[in-house]
């Protein structure tokens, strides 16, 4: 009888801990659950397009400032509001992008900056 109690206890304890661990993993595997981060990336990394996306994983609605620089010259300076867990695709239009050595996109939320750029030369 004692053996049966031990085996049943082991199965019960394992089932409970498996369930808890499974739920913890599933929740935390999410980009947003308990996370505070953002990401900025080019939609087409291998061509000259400047389309980029900002993803908000800060856990709250956030206002991002972004600027586009052609070389050292600021050509676009805007803001965009993005809901928590959402992403926003942005297609900046500037003249003669490839004439400049580098087009830089600076995105900022509060004190944190995210920079992406394409070097053309």
């Amino acid at each position: 009888m004692s053996s049966k109690i031990i085996i049943i206890a082991a199965i019960t304890l394992l089932t409970v801990s498996f369930s808890i661990l499974f739920v913890i993993e599933t929740k935390n595997h999410n980009y947003d659950y308990g996370k505070t981060w953002s990401v900025v990336y080019f939609e087409n990394p291998s061509d000259n397009s400047l389309d980029f996306t900002i993803e908000n994983h800060l856990g709250e609605k956030a206002e991002y400032k972004y600027e586009v620089l052609a070389g050292d010259k600021k050509v676009i300076d805007k803001k965009v509001e993005i809901e928590a867990g959402a992403k926003q695709k942005i297609s900046p239009v500037i003249e003669s992008a490839v004439d400049d050595e580098r087009i830089t996109i600076n995105v900022r939320f509060k004190d944190t900056g995210y920079k992406i750029y394409k070097n053309y030369k």
């Binding site: 004692s2 109690i5 082991a10 913890i24």
Partner: protein, 621 residues
Amino acid sequence: MFFDLLRLILTFPFVFILPGFFLLLAIFGGKDGRLSFFEKAILTVPISIISVDFLVLGLNRLHILINGPVLLGTTTAFCLLGYIAFQLRFKKGGKQKSDGGEAFQDPFNFSYWQTIFILISLFLAIFIRATYLSDTIVPSATDMGHHMFWVQKIIDTGNLPNYGMPDFIIGEHIPFAVVNLLSSASVMGAMPILILFFVNIVGIFTLAMLAGRIFKSSKVTATAIFVVGVLYAINAPQGKYVSGGVVGNVFGNMLIPVALYFLYRALSEKDSVFAGLFIFSLTGLLYAHHLSAFILLYSIAAIVVAYLALNLDRIFKVIGDWIKIFLKPFPLLFLIFSILFFIFVYTPSYFNPSAVAQATGEPTKITRTGLDFNQLEMNAGSARLILGALGFVLLLTAFKRKEYKYSFALAWVVVLFLMSWKPGWIYVNVPSNRIGNYLFLPFSLLASFGLAEFLHFFRKSATFFFSTVLLFILLFFVITDGLADSAEVFKMRPQFQEAVQAFHSAQYLAEKLDTSRDILLKDHVNIYGDSWYKLFFMQDYKYPLSRGMLSRYVDPTKPRETCTRDMITIPETETAKKCFLETGVNYVALNAQLEGNSFEKYPDFSKIYSSNYIAIFKRNN
């Protein structure tokens, strides 16, 4: 989420309990006194794992695509065959053996207080591990990432992979693939760690079962569950090996005691059925983990030599008895089955003369020349080492050379100690720290015996006060030292944020890159969970390229490839530029805070992705 969890929980008994249960039923029937309920319950798991491995290897040999319905049908058919064999052997005129010599001395019939002690130990063993794993449950461990790549290959192709390298063994991957194909639980989820967690807990029981049988004492069984399960529950090779995905070791630590258990019972009870099951479990281990099999073979050799040396005066009788045990239809059947399986069904990738030659002989590297006493103490654990030494001495005081338990317990610990401390003495040429991880097995066995005998000794002592004080001092040391690693669990910080950012970057690259022409290099040194990148691409095992730990590039015995290091460390040098041309690397994924910042000054690169943790650069054409 609820249905995913339910499917996974229901798949566990189907894969890890039923095949073993029906095989044991076919062999022993329902009322055989040779196995207690406790032993049957424990043995169903390792026997299921080995059976499922053999079934999948057989399916692969028959060129049957491995998928969910096929596995469901094959496993069910296997269970049915077991049930039919049981009916034919035991129900229709077959005689049920009711006892097996030593069966009446059931070391698994626990008293009330022993049951309470085991339940508390079990609760602590599972609670400490689960708490630790809750901080590492999101996939991130390097080894696990490598293993899950091969598991995903099996899932995607329906065939077993050709590894092309001796590092991986098929039995390490089959159980994960089977659970995925039956339950749909992703390999990039909790499933792999839960399987290892389960195997690790069963491993506690298998060692306790071996200890119980060898010492024929329920006290020792109960103490073994405490010594293996609660002491050093997090240190390698326990919780850390589970979360780290050290699959082979975790499986090996469960299967080694099982093989020794069957061997012990075969020899001590002159029982050919156990001899057959010993061959079965040894074969299963050979398919599951090479190092564990190597350790087991050395252990068996030491036990055999020790017993023969101690019984030199009747050596021919002993050998004659062994031949009689193994030259019976049941073990011969398993032996022939194993040999045919090796030759015609599946030969493990490491099974070749050069691999054997590499692992034996004089140590060829400094890391293989043995551990010093401090390292040995760290591997086995101070409390376990002291209790094991105590058990060793106590066992010597009651030494009886004709009894197998002395050869098993003493020769096992001596050979593993020598393999770790002075491997050159016994021609072992394997990294010593890897062998040291197995020291806990024989030391736990002796420590359980030592602790149980110690408690017994002091309870009988005339000076009650003195004995109680000594007992508490010992227990205080054992518990404080043995639980020190578990206390660290509560100070850990989960790295889920880093892991999901690494996954996000890998997903981005998998969507944007054309893997037929784009070559990615990632940084293993500074990116957490980077080994899981390859699961997003599922190309060659070596895709994407990786900058490894810097020490790996320095090898005095042979020149190593250094391009993967130089392309990240010194990308603007001529050496690195040549490497970029030779390898075709045009994307580099880095830790944003470290190399990610310094890369911004190189005009040859565009920065295409930027998160808090990961930066990705594209090399300009």
